[in-house]
Symmetry: C2
Subunit: 233 residues, 2 copies
């Protein structure tokens, strides 16, 4: 969402690309710049032409990632955004988690082979040094296309040992895997999944605070990444 | 799925494109040929490199559609596949339905504007003459990423007046709308959503019969479409 991305555009000193680095008709909006000797492209899904809101969920996330990788050929993808966090896994509002892995929690296909395809669990590239340097919490990021969850979503999140629940990372992971590009994910907690308040209330209340947490975390994370090999992260 | 597509490849006399008309790394498989004076491209999502099964669900469907529209610039997209049907809306095993509209049933986002974006309900281009000529049943096609459904999925399908439940069309509709390309959907019923048997049992039992129903319907549908304007369909 732009509410998550725009504070980063400012703090990273990026400029909006006109035209977008991703050709239409995909409505992706791109911002580019350089910092610490690396080229940075911040890519948003853009807005829905019909409903006027930001395109969210795994479908636009996967399409945007695929097209961005095609157009920009980056060495590393970083999925940055806000998310729900599990108190049972240590999450508090405003925490930033780094992903140890990705999974889907709303793709139930009880047929041989398709069951595992549906969850599409995969590990994230390990970044122990980055995690220590930035004092980040860590855990599995589970994605689904709803802001809330049904019982079956919950059961799958528990089965995946999810610490973070959001709506895009698993789609991004799938598209990044097609291109063979490593993926890092940084997710700031806006709401407590296993708490007692509706996600949408906490989300709106804490979106600005979580966006600030990302603004404080992402620039130093990129500075840490700059000039290092994957194995050094 | 290839099980749905390959019988059509044969009955339409198509040939597998080597290389695929859609460049890697997307694993899309394409088949091409001409019939009744029109160029036909049959495009499958291809297989998951990790789990070895066909890529199903809205994410690969949207990506494949977007890339196919970019590569092939067709006048019309036809989403062809098997689906669950609602007995309450007249569906029987082996029926082929033509879509009157599309919606998602597993994207619940209870925030202003995002609620409607989540469902992303849209009408299909009306095809009354095609429907009469081929004696097709008609109704709204609702998509989700699970073969089964949870209570919330059910509630949304009822709210959308869904006659057909499947796993791709809404993603295809979104990608086709980005390109401004009209979409027609033909869905053969493998299982009864509001029946008493698990979808996966009926699906496997009736997949071959439904694929045959598509094989009997799609070639005459394309023959009907050939040489007509959209308004004549």
């Amino acid at each position: 969402m732009e509410a998550e991305g725009l504070p980063l555009v400012e703090s990273l000193g990026l400029r909006r690309d006109e035209p977008s680095r991703i050709a239409p008709p995909a409505p992706c909006v791109t911002f580019s710049g350089s910092r610490h000797g690396i080229d940075i492209h911040l890519v948003c899904n853009g807005k829905c032409a019909v409903h006027g809101v930001d395109n969210v969920g795994t479908v636009p996330a996967a399409l945007t990632t695929y097209l961005a990788l095609q157009a920009l050929r980056p060495d590393l993808v970083v999925s940055v955004g806000t998310a729900g966090g599990f108190a049972a896994r240590g999450a508090k509002i405003g925490d930033v988690f780094v992903a140890t892995g990705f999974a889907n929690h709303d793709r139930r296909i009880p047929l041989p082979g398709f069951d595992k395809y549906g969850v599409w669990a995969c590990g994230a590239h390990p970044v122990p040094n980055l995690q220590k340097a930035l004092k980040l919490k860590e855990g599995v990021v589970s994605s689904g296309n709803s802001l809330d969850y049904c019982q079956q979503d919950w059961d799958q999140m528990v089965a995946s040992s999810a610490a973070i629940k959001e709506m895009e990372a698993a789609g991004i992971a799938w598209a990044a895997a097609l291109h063979g590009t490593p993926l890092l994910a940084l997710k700031a907690v806006t709401d407590i999944v296993d708490g007692d308040r509706p996600a949408q209330d906490e989300f709106l209340e804490n979106l600005a605070a979580a966006a600030r947490a990302l603004q404080e975390t992402v620039p130093p994370a990129l500075e840490f990444v700059a000039g290092k090999t994957l194995a050094e992260l």
